[in-house]
Point group: C2
Amino acid sequence: MRSTDIPGIRSLPLFSDIGEDSFERLIRGAYVQNFPPHTELITEGESADFLHIVVSGTVELGSSWNERETCMALVEPHTTFILAATIRDRPYLMSARTISKARIIMIPSEDIRSVFENDSEFAKSIVEELAGCYRDAVKHAKNIKLRSSVERLANYLVRQASQSSEGDRISLDIEKKKLASFLGMTPENLSRAFTALRNHGVEVNGEQVRLNRPEDLTRFARPDPLIDG
Amino acid sequence: MRSTDIPGIRSLPLFSDIGEDSFERLIRGAYVQNFPPHTELITEGESADFLHIVVSGTVELGSSWNERETCMALVEPHTTFILAATIRDRPYLMSARTISKARIIMIPSEDIRSVFENDSEFAKSIVEELAGCYRDAVKHAKNIKLRSSVERLANYLVRQASQSSEGDRISLDIEKKKLASFLGMTPENLSRAFTALRNHGVEVNGEQVRLNRPEDLTRFARPDPLIDG
DNA sequence: CGGTTCTTTGAGGACCATCAATACGCGTGG
DNA sequence: CCACGCGTATTGATGGTCCTCAAAGAACCG
């Protein structure tokens, strides 16, 4: 790890409140590494030797069963992934692979567990992070179980637009194939869902999506903080 | 709270390792209460004032959106529910209601948070519990996204049989309607899924289900510890 | 025993997946 | 530069899965 990385890491939400000695202890055994796109970082079912934290780039968490595969989450900078496996010392439930170029911190699971026991501020941060992951997983399941595929897409777009600075212009930063998998449908069906949303002012041009009548789309989507928040 | 409750609570996994003073602190403000069946304990969207722990009976966690409703989890004794909301001090993502008669411990969220900071053993227990909930939520989502409804039912039966002492006889202890919702389908569809599984030796008689050719059913279901474990 | 809810069964249709074919974008190498 | 190959995206045709609606039977409870 380069010493120039340390200030950046120190300011991550997970570490910002913890003591200096705990921090030392954690980064002593840590790696920081750059990965090219489409690199498998973690394989479902393996044991959890490291806690991973995304510093830059995007990471996909996916699962497979019986030849089928699905994208469960898209992890963006400043959050951890597969924290639960690290803590319980259990096999990973999801695989992780880079989508874009990505910079990742890896901290040995044992270090996490031992610092956890000695530093209550770190314990607090860990538990906050973990609770957030749990809530995200519940929201994902609610989204899938309670909404149709067109509704899921509509809500995805509304949410992306609300987070974007561009207002009603969105740049899908992932392949539509992957987006389809994340939203629980096939690529073909995603394509049709987009055309279905033309009635609500959605205009697609490759990666670029424009919401011509955001209020209309939002009225159709009925976003809910308990699913989309 | 009755003093006769205390030994039972003390031996719960969440409390078994913690210090005496922490335990005192936690139960001082706690309630233990019996609820009749079909009682709403928690409403989705409300604030999280208490951590709940099921001592006996079964509790359903469910969510709704736009007039639709789904069963997200069935909570059995000795586990907590809605821990994440308590920790992050955020609104509940799911409602909770009793299915059977149930005995529930309720501990004020503030007490949980303050003992968490002072007792690292308790922190460890909390984080284990939370990680377990997270993993369950991920498994639920994987189950829904990766399997068809007949496959979900088959795996549910295989799992119930493996946990039952009866071997290949299962007693569904919940309404089929609820089971259907948990498995992400309609009651009608569950009924048809059961008849589809007759080909694999599944015989249904009201609440009672018999697996006449367990190996056959298991071969069809392809259970996976990373989903069903 | 009557009312209510759950369960099952049937018919029909909506939603979604699959398969196939085409078009598009993009990088590689001729 | 263009041709080519490769993967993605779209579009159409078709079929399967699943939901909706309706009705009848079964279980439950007052």
